[in-house]
Amino acid sequence: MSAEKLLQGDTDRGTRPANRIPLARLLRRTALHLVLATVSLAMVLPFLWMIITSLKTDPDLASYPPNLLPQVWDWDNYSEALEYAPFGTYFKNSLLISFGHTAFNLVLASTAGYALARVPFRGRTLVFMVVLATMMIPTYTKIVPQYLIAKGIPFFGGNDYLGQGGHGWLDSWWGLIVPGALTPFAIFLFRQFYLSLPRELEEAARIDGMGEFGIYARVMTPLVKPAIATVGLLTFESSWNNFLWPLIITSDTNLRVIQVGLSTFQQADQNAWAYLMAGTTLATIPMVVLFLFTQRYFVQGFARSGIK
């Protein structure tokens, strides 16, 4: 399926031939816009309500029936929320982990994708098949042993050489970053992109005496920038939104990511809605903005994978 075509957003399929009466066409158009506008509004309503709530004062929040717009636009909620709960720390942790995952994934997946696409070796097809298979493994078929492995890493967190006696990578940056640092989908995507590059480039570089790594780093990789952007953005987004893994391997408040921090904040403080909504705004708006400016790469990536 062509992502490029999708990006243009429209083709002329579905438009009627010109022999229709203009009025009927106008009516259809209006109806179409009405339906789509209503649906779009329903989709963005929660985001609007989130921002509106984050700017309301406490008495305003408690008033019944609720006001649609804030009586006073209380921008101080944000600075107060940051003081009230360590959202700042959570935000920083999420940022660090997301950048870490993105960097690792780009390096690991591009080298692997390159090898699978351009370096002939025995068993290459088999390795590629295995990568494809790992893409389809459900999270819950591996999560429990992943936790046990993280807990049993030798010499970390008070563990002996057998991985016993301590907590290993639980509650550590290692545990937060390393297990999620590579996604099979990224390898797959890079492979497809490297595969599409012309052979001549490689041969020319070889005649010039370049080694395999040089060809990868200096000739081929600069040509797959769209793949870098797509993998980078998808990795960043899924890492930022990830919840289950940080939830199970951290209990230390200082290592909490924003998603886990928000959920524990809500459970501890059931009625601090304005602060909570300020926190969720901080957790969602960066992704919304990132998405708005880099839509083409997201769309391309999602249309290929369908999964996060």
Partner: protein, 280 residues
């Protein structure tokens, strides 16, 4: 160049998957670190647990409502958005927005929207004279509320896959249909839907996997399995067994059951939506 990635995949995916299937037949003591085979004991144990059995049912109900409903809305939206107009990009962005934002954060927003007295959902129902339920606190409505959130969240990606498939479709078939005088509704059912079969298979598979593995919104909206365990699903029970009760063997047995469900459903969807050659 391949080695670091292969080691990572083997270490964090290969070994864990194999371990799940082995540990499911063992009694793993997490404190002592000892492993003892115990045959089918874990499976006997989990299936005698009422909550686990209920969670299977909830997962099936949850998937039954989220997947087809969201798919139907998504395919209609994709067809509507596949029309040449300037605003299409904006509509598409709005529909897709929930997919890129964190499930946890957005579930917290819905939690506030479902607040029985001050929430925007019941306020809007009040405008049309309906006295809304207490939603997340009501065992009869909690799962419905979670399903609503999940449909809302899932439409975007399904719409996007359908849209991509629609734009790769041959124009001449529609041309012929128009000359034969087929209405747009007829064209949708006679041409579009059949041609979308491979896309439908793809969407169906992806959605079922997603839906069976939904966790974040359930964890946030209805903590601890919801009122009277009315919204507990298989993923939540695996989480509870493994990371609250630390009964790793039983948790792996539950994971194996979840895996078996997905495998069977994949085979059924393949049968339903066509031959293998059709699959992209």
């Amino acid at each position: 160049m391949l080695a670091p990635s292969v080691i990572h995949l083997v270490w964090w995916i290969g070994i864990p998957v194999a371990a799940t299937f082995v540990l499911a037949f063992t009694d793993y003591d997490i404190l002592a670190g000892t492993v003892e085979f115990n045959g089918l004991d874990n499976f006997r144990e989990i299936f005698s647990d009422e909550t686990w059995n209920a969670s299977i049912w909830h997962t099936v109900v949850f998937t039954f409502f989220t997947v087809p409903v969201a798919m139907a809305i998504a395919v209609v939206l994709a067809v509507l958005l596949n029309v040449k107009m300037r605003a299409a990009v904006w509509y598409r962005t709005a529909v897709f927005m929930p997919h890129v934002t964190a499930t946890v954060a957005i579930a917290l927003v819905w939690m506030w929207m479902f607040e029985p007295r001050l929430g925007v959902v019941n306020t809007m129902l009040g405008w049309v004279g309906i006295d809304g339920p207490t939603w997340l606190a009501d065992p009869d409505w909690a799962l419905t509320a979670v399903i609503i959130v999940s449909i809302w969240k899932g439409i975007g990606i399904k719409m996007l896959i359908y849209l991509a498939a629609l734009q790769a479709m041959p124009e001449d078939v529609y041309e012929a249909a128009r000359i034969d005088g087929a209405s747009q509704i007829q064209q949708f059912f006679a041409i579009t839907l059949p041609l979308l079969k491979p896309a439908t298979f793809f969407v169906l598979v992806v959605s079922i996997i997603d839906s069976f593995q939904a966790f974040d919104q359930l964890y946030v909206l209805t903590p601890d399995g919801g009122p009277g365990n009315s919204t507990t699903v298989m993923t939540y029970e695996i989480y509870r067994t493994a990371f609250k009760e630390f009964n790793m063997g039983a948790a792996c047995a539950q994971s194996v059951v979840l895996f078996a469900f997905l495998l069977v459903l994949m085979l059924i969807s393949r049968r339903l939506t066509g031959k293998e050659e059709d699959v992209r």
